[in-house]
C-alpha cells in the first residue's frame, strides 16, 4: 500500500460517520461543573486536614496539662480514616496494599531491568478492577498487573473466543494459565483462578520494543503469584 492509497482509504473510512451530537454549550456547562467539583474536593481536603491537625494539637495540650506537648503526648492511636467527598469513593485500600507488596516483590522477580516506579492505577473502593503499574527503565509503557474480581470476570472459554490464546494450561488446582497477544500491541499472561477472579500481566509492545531481559515465563510467574489477588 502506498501513501496515496492510504490517504484515500482513511478519507473513505470516515464518509459514513454518524451525526455529531457534541453541543459546545453543554460541554462548557460540564467543564464548569467539573471545575467546581475539583475545587470543592480540594477545599474539603484542606479543611479536613486542618480540623484533624487542630484536634491532635488540642488533645495533646489537654493530656500534657500545659507541659511540653511533644514530650508528654502519648503516641497517637493508629487509625484509618476514609473520607468521601461529593459522593466520590475513597482510593482502593486493596490496590494500595498490592502496590506496597509489589514494590518489595517485583525486584526479586524482574531481574536484569531497573524498576523506576510502582504505582496504582487509581482504582476506588468498590471498583471491580485493580491495577499496579510498573515503570521500567528504557520502556515507554509500563508493565501492568491487573486484578479483576470474580463478579466482573469472564470464563476462560469466553475470553479465548475473542482473543488469540496460546499455551493454555490447566494447573493442578484447576485454574488455567494462558498467553494472548491481542492486536499485536501487547502481550497478556493471564491466570484464571478457581475463585473466578482473573490476574493479567500486560506487557506493551508499542514501537515493537522487545523485552529481552525478561522471558515470557516470568510474566506468568507474576500472574500466578497467590499474593496478587483481589
Amino acid at each position: 500500500m502506498n501513501e496515496q492509497e492510504l490517504g484515500r482509504a482513511l478519507r473513505a473510512a470516515v464518509l459514513d460517520e454518524p451525526p455529531l451530537t457534541i453541543d459546545p454549550d453543554r460541554l462548557i456547562a460540564r467543564a464548569k461543573r467539573e471545575t467546581h467539583r475539583r475545587w470543592a474536593v480540594a477545599t474539603t481536603g484542606v479543611a479536613v486536614v486542618a480540623i484533624a491537625a487542630a484536634a491532635v494539637i488540642f488533645a495533646q495540650r489537654k493530656q500534657g496539662g500545659g507541659a511540653d506537648p511533644v514530650a508528654a503526648a502519648p503516641a497517637p492511636p493508629a487509625a484509618t480514616v476514609t473520607v468521601t467527598v461529593s459522593g466520590m469513593p475513597a482510593p482502593s485500600r486493596r490496590e494500595a496494599e498490592l502496590v506496597e507488596y509489589e514494590k518489595r516483590h517485583l525486584p526479586q522477580v524482574l531481574k536484569g531491568v531497573r524498576i523506576e516506579s510502582v504505582t496504582g492505577s487509581g482504582a476506588r473502593e468498590g471498583d471491580p478492577i485493580l491495577g499496579v503499574r510498573v515503570a521500567v527503565a528504557g520502556h515507554p509503557n509500563p508493565l501492568e498487573l491487573v486484578v479483576t474480581s470474580k463478579d466482573h470476570s469472564e470464563s476462560v472459554d469466553t475470553f479465548c473466543a475473542h482473543s488469540n490464546c496460546y499455551e493454555r494450561q490447566t494447573l493442578p488446582d484447576g485454574s488455567t494459565t494462558l498467553f494472548t497477544n491481542p492486536g499485536g500491541s501487547f502481550l497478556i499472561a493471564a491466570h484464571f483462578r478457581t475463585d473466578g477472579s482473573i490476574i493479567e500481566v500486560n506487557r506493551w509492545r508499542e514501537d515493537a520494543k522487545p523485552w529481552p531481559e525478561i522471558p515470557e515465563a516470568v510474566f506468568l510467574q507474576l500472574a500466578t503469584d497467590p499474593n496478587l489477588s483481589f
Binding site: 500500500m1 501513501e3 492510504l6 490517504g7 484515500r8 482509504a9 482513511l10 478519507r11 473513505a12 473510512a13 470516515v14 464518509l15 459514513d16 460517520e17 454518524p18 451525526p19 455529531l20 451530537t21 457534541i22 459546545p24 454549550d25 460541554l27 462548557i28 460540564r30 467543564a31 467539573e34 471545575t35 492505577s121 471491580p128 478492577i129 491495577g131 509503557n141 501492568e144 491487573v146 479483576t148 466482573h152 469472564e154 475473542h162 491481542p182 492486536g183 499485536g184 500491541s185 497478556i188 493479567e200 500486560n202 509492545r205 508499542e206 514501537d207 515493537a208
Partner: protein, 174 residues
C-alpha cells in the same frame, strides 16, 4: 472565563469537533468512543484555555491533547474487559450501495483490519500524515518528538500496515 474567551472556545469547539472526532475514530475504530474522546479533549482544552495564547499552535495542541486522552483511555484496564461486539450503525451503510461498495469495503478493511493492528504511535503518525495531511514538522510538533522519529515511524507504520493487510489477504485466499 470571561465572555469573549468563552465565545472563542465555543467557536473552536464548533469548528474542530467534527474533525477531531474523525481523527479519534481512525485511532480507536469506534465512533462512540471517538465522540467520548472528543468531548473529554474539548473539556481539557476549556480548562487550559486561559493559558493558550498562541493561536498558531492551537491546532497541534488540540490534536496532541486528543492523542494523550486516547492513550490514557486505552491503558485503562477495564477497556480490555470490554468486548468487541458489532454495533448497530447510526446511519445507513453506504457500503451496501454497489456503486460505492468496493471503495468503502476496502477502506473499512484498511482501517478495521489493518490500521487498528498497527502499534499506537505508528498509527497516530499515519493518521496525522495521511488523513490530517500534516507535514513531518507539524506531526513532530503534535507528537512531541523529532522529525527523524516521525519519518522512521511513518516507514515502519506503512510496512506494518502492508504486512497486516497482506496476511489478511493470504488468510482469505487460503
Amino acid at each position: 472565563m470571561d465572555d469573549p474567551a468563552e465565545s472563542a472556545f465555543r467557536d473552536l469547539a464548533t469548528t474542530e469537533a467534527a474533525g477531531l472526532r474523525r481523527f479519534a475514530y481512525l485511532l480507536c475504530g469506534d465512533w462512540h468512543l471517538a465522540e467520548d474522546l472528543t468531548q473529554t479533549t474539548l473539556i481539557k482544552i476549556y480548562r487550559a484555555w486561559p493559558k493558550l495564547r498562541d493561536a498558531g499552535v492551537l491546532h497541534a495542541y488540540v490534536r496532541k491533547t486528543l492523542l494523550r486522552t486516547w492513550l490514557d483511555e486505552k491503558r485503562k484496564p477495564w477497556r480490555r474487559r470490554e468486548r468487541r461486539h458489532g454495533s448497530v450503525p447510526d446511519v445507513a451503510d453506504a457500503g451496501l450501495d454497489p456503486a460505492h461498495g468496493t471503495e468503502r469495503a476496502w477502506a473499512k478493511t484498511v482501517v478495521q483490519r489493518g490500521l487498528l493492528e498497527v502499534p499506537p504511535k505508528q498509527r497516530a503518525v499515519l493518521v496525522l500524515r495521511y488523513f490530517d495531511e500534516l507535514s513531518v514538522a507539524e506531526t513532530a510538533a503534535v507528537l512531541g518528538c523529532s522529525e527523524g522519529n516521525v519519518k522512521s515511524q511513518t516507514a515502519r507504520g506503512l510496512a506494518t500496515l502492508a504486512k497486516v493487510l497482506d496476511a489478511g489477504k493470504e488468510l482469505r485466499t487460503a
